[in-house]
Symmetry: C2
Subunit: 457 residues, 2 copies
């Protein structure tokens, strides 16, 4: 198919919203390592996982075989509220950079949660409701996942209790109000409501919190409250499965216009966006049908791919969750306050970790001020104020486009613009005032946490 | 054409973005009363207006005859960044209300300015650049207009100086940061930078400001700075002209799907959204081709249509602007702090004022807490967090839909959802905490200001 005229915004029709999620694991010759029971160190079973997650999600978590899992009608209806999301041709950015590259971004920010997180939130809330549960607990970093889950729970009539990493809770007071608008309760983490929260507060007075700690609190509350389960917005296989809707739409609309991506770029915290965006591209790569450069972008302040170890580790600070084999900085690693709150997780999706380990994708870490420079440039020419998390991908997309300018290559660069930065203006203010710093952990710091990794295998 | 299956989001294609604005005045048998020179009380000429506005905009301001004015290619390119905007069928809201009515809303919030204001901002910045100006000044209430103008000026490389009503400046600190991201300078109004600002601060110590005052400061600065002109985000004929893109798209996509609107509803501050949304519908009504109920919704705290006088008045507190004949509460009227900052203007578009005066449209005023109740309901079922301004229209759309429920009528209700409320979370917080009040001015208060209206005609 030859390349057609490309509009600024490439949309699928509503009836082209994918009818099934794509389970990339089915195409992986080497599967991600299994989750282990933190007590017995044996692979978790569906029955064991069902104490924490609802049953259908536990099944999805362990399903390495089914390539396509149908999306229930109720979820597809909800998707119609805000999907298909546009794939935007960044004509203005290309012109500004003077690059021969063609830049495309899949924009997931046109919904009130402000990000792609809603894609999995609605799925998890739906299955919880279907199982007859009363409510769910979760953690949130930047607040996008908490907002998304609040929206989904409100829609299906479920209670929603959110532990919000303290640094984000303080930096983003209005995020809490959005969640309240959707009827959720929001608690800064570490809190004094849980045993693990009290322990961490005692051991690290004044801590600004971490996702690992907030996860522990949310799990403790879910397990201790009848009719509740825990849900998670990233890292897990099930989340990447739900987020495959991003990649499937991206691939479908590129195919519709006869465009073959050369490079696919996504920001990576726990891996929810990246895993979803790249799924169909990586699938073709694994099946030998097509080749793509796939690049994960992470903050230099929390560099799990580029400076972490590939090892079994706890998913949470409290060590109540299953152990996962992943690139990790160590479950105790609490990154310095960093405005890309959604990219502060110590570990990385086991699926992506295995793919990276096999050399099927690249990873780059970028400094915060470079990210904000890219964010501001992007805002000015493309008219969208990007979230700091998303701006990591913008930074590397711009860098790749500038390389094309040097070589004269007209590569097709596709990146995920996961969300908007309306609740990140304190960070933009610091950047404007020249007060933003670039924290990068030293090797010595990282070694301290790496030494504490559990010794498994 | 029979009614087709309606998707959740009805989009036009990019090549269906209108190629010309529609000038409703050309179809008005009785034209809006002319702007008067504040000194001579004679109708303003293009030459006189050109001292304040750039020339092509001055011409548009006084053009009562040309039905369609072509949209320059540069502006259409910019529109492609965020237009066509979706017309959404509110299936979830209909279901929640149990109404047989069909509810549609034109959503103008999917851009970083967060509202429809960008439609006119880009036009005004374009003409200023074309004329070779250095920069523009303006005022902003809720901050949406200022943000939109900042984006447009950044795009065309113009300086942008914004006077922001003090109450909004304080309630929305992050709005200022968004404008700064786009390189604008933002000053709380009344300031000490201008003669009128100093006068108002002296006469009303501690005042929270008003649009009328901020306009005076912006005009004073524009007139006193070489290479600068003043631009305004509402009230003016030229603004309604640019905003006709909203109505044209709405009408075109309804026609495409074979839907005939019965009721068209818009919130009204200065009238920019309402005038743009209703333009083609009102045009058909004026030409006798179709009938529509058209409803303006204003806050009970600033009820220019429903409790104001139809008279010549100053557009600004400082009386430096031309006099306009409009529904007005008096140029000195400073509404109590009200979170729908964009609907705090004392007057109303002369075009809309004339149409209302002739009985061609209705007006309703609504209380703030009723508005937020509608906003929260809407956010929960439709997944969009609406701006307080926009929520005035939601309130009345819901009320009309509930009337249909009583009568069993399946009316087609179309309303303008002008923007998102991400920067209004302080107001939502007050609402959630039960601390929101419903200020309604007394007849005595209004009489004080009405008595000060200039006596013309």
């Amino acid at each position: 198919m030859s390349e057609q005229h490309i509009p600024y915004k490439m949309y699928l029709n509503e009836n082209e919203i994918p009818s099934a999620w794509y389970n990339l694991r089915a195409d992986m010759p080497i599967k991600p390592a299994p989750l282990l029971n933190p007590g017995t160190k044996q692979p978790m079973t569906v029955d064991e996982l069902s104490g924490v997650f609802c049953r259908e999600l536990a099944e999805q978590e362990l399903d390495n075989d089914t390539r396509f899992i149908p999306i229930p009608a109720e979820i597809r209806d909800f998707y119609r509220m805000y999907r298909p999301s546009p794939l935007v041709r960044a004509y203005f950015l290309e012109e500004k950079l003077g690059t021969p590259a063609h830049i495309y971004y899949k924009f997931e920010g046109n919904n009130t949660s402000g990000s792609h997180k809603l894609n999995s939130a609605v799925a998890q809330a739906y299955y919880a409701k279907k199982q007859g549960l009363r409510g769910v607990t979760t953690e949130t970093g930047a607040g996008q996942w908490g907002t998304a889950l609040s929206m989904a729970c409100s829609f299906f009539g479920l209670d929603c209790k959110v532990y919000m990493v303290k640094v984000s809770y303080e930096q983003k007071p209005f995020r809490r109000e959005v969640m309240r608008t959707y009827g959720a309760s929001v608690t800064p983490s570490p809190s004094m409501d849980t045993a693990i929260g009290r322990k961490i507060n005692a051991e690290h007075p004044g801590t600004t919190g971490s996702l690992g700690c907030a996860i522990s609190e949310a799990v403790e509350t879910a397990v201790g409250t009848p009719g509740y389960r825990y849900v998670l917005g990233s890292v897990l296989n099930q989340v990447l499965l739900h987020q495959s809707v991003i990649g499937l739409e991206t691939k479908a609309v590129l195919d519709k216009y006869g465009v073959k991506a050369d490079i696919v770029i996504g920001c990576a915290g726990g891996g929810s966006n990246l895993g979803g965006l790249i799924a169909p591209f990586m699938g073709e790569k694994l099946r030998g049908e097509n080749d793509y450069r796939i690049i994960a972008v992470e903050p230099a302040s929390c560099p799990s791919f580029t400076r972490g170890r590939y090892a079994y580790d706890f998913a949470d600070t409290g060590m109540v969750c299953p152990l996962a084999k992943m690139y990790t900085l160590g479950a105790d690693f609490i990154p310095a306050p960093n405005h890309a709150g959604g990219l502060r997780y110590h570990g990385m999706s086991p699926v992506l970790s295995e793919l990276y380990h096999e050399g099927l994708m690249e990873a780059v870490s970028v400094k915060q001020t470079d990210v904000f420079e890219a964010a501001e440039l992007f805002a000015r020419v493309e008219g969208i104020l990007p979230a700091p998390e998303s701006s990591h991908a913008i930074r590397v997309a711009i860098d790749e486009a500038l390389k094309c300018k040097e070589t004269g290559e007209a590569k097709n660069i596709v990146f995920g613009l996961t969300g908007t930065g309306y609740f990140d203006m304190l960070a933009y203010e610091k950047f404007h005032d020249g007060k933003m710093t670039d924290y990068v952990p030293t090797d010595e710091e990282l070694a301290v946490y790496a030494a504490k990794l559990p010794q498994i295998d």
